[in-house]
């Protein structure tokens, strides 16, 4: 009897998928805000540094790279890798996958546009390579995240 009660209290894969999906949407918006804030602080700190903009691997660069890899995994897979296969399949079903792909499309175009802008700017003012790459990657990921989060929120609201 007690065993049955425990079993019935356990959420089904569909319920777990729905909860995870909503949490993921919140997390996506949080990532957008934190990533944007980080970029602003990073760039302002670098450009206002008394030493001027500089290249080189520092702690903040390593942190940024780690964060970028995590976000790329999220944009690339949709997350839920620690969940069961059934829950993961429901979490990343057709709607969410389409939303993620649309986010990737936005990310690609944002990265291309920033790359072109950086290229044009570098003609009149030589750019530091690491900054150029940083800008292309950050804008690409930022655009992908915003679009993915926006579409997921819209789908969650409809449900």
């Amino acid at each position: 009897m007690a065993r049955q009660m425990v079993k019935s209290a356990t959420p089904s894969p569909a319920e777990r998928a729905e909860r995870f999906s909503r949490k993921r949407t919140t997390m996506l918006w949080l990532e957008v805000a934190l990533f944007g804030l980080w970029q602003t602080v990073f760039l302002v700190a670098r450009w206002t540094s008394p030493h001027g903009p500089r290249a080189g691997v520092t702690t903040d660069v390593l942190l940024w790279m780690t964060w970028v890899v995590v976000l790329l995994l999220l944009i690339g897979t949709g997350g839920g890798t620690l969940m069961s296969r059934e829950v993961r399949r429901l979490v990343n079903d057709e709607v969410s996958t389409a939303n993620r792909h649309e986010g990737q499309r936005w990310g690609f175009w944002a990265a291309m546009l920033v790359a072109i802008a950086v290229y044009l700017i570098s003609i009149v003012q030589p750019a530091i390579l690491t900054y150029a790459i940083h800008a292309v990657v950050s804008f690409g990921i930022g655009a992908a995240l915003i679009r993915y989060a926006w579409l997921e929120r819209r789908a969650d609201r409809a449900a």
Binding site: E18, R89, D93, E94, E102, A155, A159
Partner: protein
């Protein structure tokens, strides 16, 4: 192809209409039950019903099978 807000930009005569909500109600199923039968999330059922999302052929066929209906009775071209 979706527009800036994700809504598909297609002329009216090429929009995909559906009677999923009516068919589901006629079958006496909730969105969650239909989602279980079709092997998708409830979010997918709702976004299709509300025409926020245009399903693939595969998903349309799965929904039709879950409801025991022909796919062309569930989905149709508008206009």
């Amino acid at each position: 192809m979706p527009g800036w807000n994700g809504a598909p930009i297609v002329p009216p005569e090429r929009r995909l209409g559906n009677r999923l909500r009516e068919a589901r109600a006629a079958a006496g199923l909730t969105q969650a039950q239909l989602a279980d039968l079709a092997g998708v999330s409830r979010k997918t059922i709702n976004t299709v019903e509300n025409r926020v999302f245009i399903p693939s052929t595969l998903l349309a066929l799965r929904l039709a099978r879950a409801l025991g209906a022909a796919v062309e009775t569930l989905f149709f071209l508008e206009g």
